[in-house]
């Protein structure tokens, strides 16, 4: 017999997150939110 209804699963975890929000929530502090710089770029920056 079917069991009690299982709730739907929200693949976004109930949030509407853009790339930059995801990275901020993850504690990342990247250049422009999602860019990894190498040593040369860091120096120039």
């Amino acid at each position: 017999l079917p069991t009690a209804k299982i709730l739907d699963f929200d693949v976004d975890g109930g949030l509407d997150l853009d790339i930059f929000d995801i990275n901020e929530e993850a504690g990342l502090n990247l250049i422009e939110g999602d860019i990894v710089l190498d040593e040369t770029q860091t120096r120039n920056s």
């Binding site: 079917p2 929200d10 509407d16 790339i19 930059f20 504690g27 422009e32 939110g33 860019i35 990894v36």
Partner: protein, 652 residues
């Protein structure tokens, strides 16, 4: 980013690390397909090239800009990054693109509200000088998928970016697909002349009908018209919106005799992959028995004039509607697509068969089409949390699934489209494995732009993980819907069980859904697929042979020189000036070195070395000082002894 050293070869080697989610791996492959369709950028599994992109599941979505030539270049697709546009965005970074609003001319187009930016985040709004970054002659693009959204890095509730043209305020930050300008820039940067998997597209707006030709042995012709007696009244490309345009091809069966055929052949195309998808819109206002057949005419040495091969009859009964059709082809030789209309028997005095917006590409066809009529009205009139269900669709592997659409959102997201995928099972179903293992369901709202390369469709995918547990339960989420679902009775009396849904309340905003050609003729079209992705659960093979370094224009072949060269610790052999040498693996704070990468170094070692060197120098200087002092003292004593002077305290 300016500089040829940052370019990748047009075929980019990639390695998908084991930690990636299976759904992410599937979406990455879909993103690669979009690159292939719309640009000349291709991707291939890493087979030992000197530089490659390692895609892994980091703690977010990020990439470097351009080819850093570091061997293994990392690109993260972490949790919640498994959206096609996010992946395309990160790969655009890797291919050499900064964000759109960091252009040197940014301030001409948007105003940055500096006082609304979170403290310490201001650097994210720096611009790059046009000696560092080029816009490649493409105007500022509010539609770019590389643009921040208006609320990026804000400290409160007010937007940080205000567009100088207010109409673009809600446009910036789209994460649907490449914009036209994104593609123009990418194609300019990599000197692309055509998409790798694109073959042909025709909306019949030009008189040359895209080089299509009329058949020679038929009795009637297809005619380029802007309306036809008996229907349709307008074309599909423009829906009759523009005076003097809006053409389609029509075979008038009303005026033809029984048995007449009309043949329309595409121009010659040259396939590379061996599989194609033919997509077109079809309006059938002919008699019920009249048919449209699809053939291909294949050319080879034995058949220089081409040999006709029947593919299928289009099953589109007469309707007052432009119907979307897909036909899968499997052609490996030079060929044409052939549309053959046949007037079979008596029918209406007016009417016929019509074709518009034909697209031919070397891609797989979507499996299922769900058309939602009068979609604007459905969005505007459906209350929040009220679902609309697609019909159940059965995949070729025997699983049935269904899409649920919440036209006005759910769970606190009014003004959005929310979309979920469910497994479905009927009472007598047998033969499936439960829980359902690794099927990726993709729900795509089709941008009905006539040209396939200019479409910015919106899609999300979910994958059935057989190990996933339902929340607060021991039940498997993707188990047999007869076990974990609820019974449903359709209005027509059909009964089945619908499992729980997986999807998102934020599939697409109403504002975006009403933009572009998501709604055309009042209708929205969802393209649905269920694909097996179980092959993505195994590790991507690590190259067993090593290759020459890649050149800008081509990927490389295996090198014999490297056969005898052993590289340790994950090092890769490359041929450098004719000699094999090892390129060693490097990490964030460690590296291997030596002829065969046999030694390991780290920043800690470097610090120790620096400290040891400094102490050694200090020690040596101390020693020299002591020796010098002793020598001087000795010499002075000797001189005093020779002169016989007695030193005494004269003033005591």
């Amino acid at each position: 980013i300016i500089g040829d050293e940052y370019r990748w070869p047009t075929t980019v080697p990639y390695y998908m690390e084991d930690d990636l989610e299976i759904n992410a791996k599937g979406v990455i492959l879909k993103a690669f397909e979009q690159y292939r369709l719309k640009t000349c950028i291709d991707f291939k599994p890493w087979s030992g090239e000197e530089n490659y992109i390692s895609i892994f599941k980091g703690s977010g979505c990020f990439s470097s800009v351009g080819n850093r030539r570091v061997g293994k270049q990392r690109l993260s697709i972490g949790t919640n990054c498994d959206r096609i546009a996010t992946i395309e965005h990160e790969f655009l970074h890797a291919l050499g693109f900064w964000h759109e609003q960091s252009r040197s001319d940014r301030d001409d187009y948007v105003q940055i509200m500096w006082d609304r930016i979170s403290e310490g985040k201001e650097h994210n709004f720096n611009t790059y000088d046009d000696t560092v970054s080029s816009s490649l002659g493409v105007p500022y693009d509010y539609n770019s998928m590389m643009h921040y959204s208006k609320n990026a890095f804000r400290n409160g509730s007010e937007p940080t970016i205000v567009t100088k043209i207010p109409a673009f305020s809600e446009v910036i930050g789209q994460r649907m697909e490449f914009s036209d300008s994104d593609l123009l820039k990418l194609n300019r940067l990599y000197k692309c002349t055509q998409g790798s998997t694109f073959l042909d597209s025709c909306d019949f707006e030009r008189e040359n009908i895209c080089g299509m030709i009329q058949g020679h042995e038929d009795q009637a012709d297809w005619v380029r018209v802007s309306n036809a007696p008996g229907g349709p009244e307008t074309d599909y490309s423009n829906m009759g919106k523009c005076t003097g345009s809006g053409y389609f091809m029509h075979f008038g069966t009303g005026t033809a005799s029984a048995g007449d055929t009309a043949v329309l052949e595409s121009r010659l195309v040259y396939p590379k992959r061996g599989y194609q998808c033919l997509q077109f819109f079809y309006y059938n206002s002919a008699g019920p028995g009249d048919t449209l057949k699809i053939h291909v005419r294949e050319y080879d040495e034995d058949n220089p004039s081409g040999k006709l091969r029947f593919i299928q009859t289009i099953d589109g009964s007469p309707q007052d509607l432009w119907q979307l059709h897909h036909v899968s082809l499997d052609v490996r030789k030079k060929f044409r697509v052939v549309f053959e209309g046949t007037k079979v028997g008596p029918g209406p005095a007016a009417g016929g068969l019509s074709l518009d917006d034909i697209n031919l590409s070397e891609t797989t066809c979507p499996e299922f089409v769900w058309r939602v009529k009068n979609f604007s009205h459905v969005m505007d009139s459906t209350p929040t949390n009220t679902p609309v269900f697609s019909p159940p669709f059965t995949s070729k592997e025997g699983y049935t699934f269904q899409m649920t659409l919440y036209p006005n959102g759910r769970d606190g997201y009014p003004g959005e489209l929310s979309a979920y995928a469910h497994l479905v099972a009927r009472e007598g179903d047998a033969g499936q494995t439960w829980p359902c293992p690794w099927k990726q369901i993709t729900m795509m709202l089709m941008d009905q732009h006539p040209h396939i390369q200019k479409r910015m469709s919106n899609q999300r995918s979910v994958t059935t993980d057989p190990n996933m547990k339902a929340a607060d339960s021991d039940l498997f989420f993707w188990d047999d819907p007869r076990k974990v679902g609820a019974e449903v009775t359709e209005p027509d009396g059909a009964r089945y069980f619908r499992g729980p849904g997986a999807g998102t309340p934020v599939y697409l905003t109403h504002l975006r859904a009403k933009s572009r050609d998501f709604i055309k003729g009042g209708d929205a079209i969802f393209l649905l697929t269920m694909e097996d992705v179980s092959h993505l659960t195994v590790s991507q093979p690590v190259p067993s042979t090593t290759l020459k370094p890649t050149s800008q224009s081509a990927t490389t072949n295996a090198s014999d020189s490297c056969l005898d060269k052993q590289c340790q610790n994950g090092g890769v052999c490359v041929v450098d000036q004719g000699k094999p040498s090892c390129r060693c693996e490097v990490g964030d704070d460690w590296w291997y070195y030596g002829d065969s990468c046999q030694h390991r170094g780290s920043t800690q070692d470097k610090t120790t070395l620096a400290l040891a060197s400094s102490l050694s120098v200090l020690g040596a200087m101390l020693l020299i000082t002591v020796v010098s002092v002793l020598c001087v003292k000795k010499k002075y004593k000797k001189r005093v002894a020779n002169t016989g002077i007695a030193l005494e305290n004269a003033y005591a």
